[in-house]
Symmetry: D2
Subunit: 110 residues, 4 copies
């Protein structure tokens, strides 16, 4: 919107989708499953990913040239979260959202 490139709008969409998926799965799935799902390492990564995706979207929405720095950090965290969700298992929705978001953020950071 407002002269935003379609690549940037797509990246905002991926970031907000990944934020929703990670935040909702952490609180509504992991907390129910317990076990490895609430291990500090895994749960913290889910929470960090949700927060970073939300902020990365925000930086693009406000039109900051520094979105490259936040997209770079976001791609790194999303990749780590996807890998950890694969390790824990039963988190495919999250793996997919993180991978798509990481790819989109890498393009924006380039």
């Amino acid at each position: 919107m407002h002269h935003m490139s379609s690549d940037m709008q797509a990246c905002i969409d991926e970031c907000l989708r990944c934020y929703q998926t990670c935040q909702s799965m952490a609180m509504n799935h992991c907390l129910e499953m317990v076990g490895e799902h609430v291990e500090k390492r895994h749960f913290t990564l889910m929470s960090a990913c949700a927060e970073m995706c939300r902020t990365s979207a925000h930086m693009m929405l406000i039109g900051s040239e520094h979105h490259k720095a936040t997209c770079r950090a976001c791609a790194e965290i999303c990749e780590a979260c996807a890998a950890d969700c694969e390790r824990v298992g039963d988190m495919q929705e999250c793996v997919d959202a993180c991978r798509r978001c990481a790819e989109s953020c890498r393009k924006m950071a380039a």
Copy 2:
């Protein structure tokens, strides 16, 4: 997602859409238009609306029973923002997003 009611998912969608519209229009439209668009009263309301919509969506995503309190506050702020955007003019996209979000939040708060 994860046993979330369709009404709640719809409200999350409206909140995140209204957040994006208000945040982006404030920074990319109002700051360019200057004049009334950057009056403290108007710009603060746009910013407050964006922040509250983001938080209201968050409360529903984490499955908090307190989303009723935040949806109530969100509906109030969205209505005020819609009215002020009409007063200032040239903000129809924002008026519409705020009205839809307010209506959806009022239902969730009931």
Copy 3:
């Protein structure tokens, strides 16, 4: 700061202190203790309280007249969080921060 009343600055301080305490204790204490500490009800309340305190502080920082609505919601959530932290036990730091924040927010909402 910038002509902010001392009552409002004090409320911002309480909100940011309560945000830090709830967020840090949820992630660094509750996730280690497991058991009741990671029950969905308790953990969600801690997370909701942290988010609402952060937003309540934000509304006052931007000088929004709608801080009354957010302080009201914040006081309600802080009281509920304090009560639940007492129920679960071993959360006194959180109980205290929530009580102080609730009292300060009630004054601002009046």
Copy 4:
């Protein structure tokens, strides 16, 4: 708190102080001063800095190992904001908060 190193607690404090200073000065000082203070470039940088500081503090509070990535991005944005506040002038409080936060974040990112 909760076995957090004193360096990390100091960095959280600087981030939250810089967030408060940038957010409050943007909304309560820049919007009143108008002119260069509400130029898109300057106002966006103030907003980006506030958001990034808030998120950087959050990553440390939740105990994420990825705080290094967010502290790195935060230091970069704080330096840019400090430089732009010096250019615009009459923003010394912001310059100082950004410089201190940048220095603290660089140490955490190392």
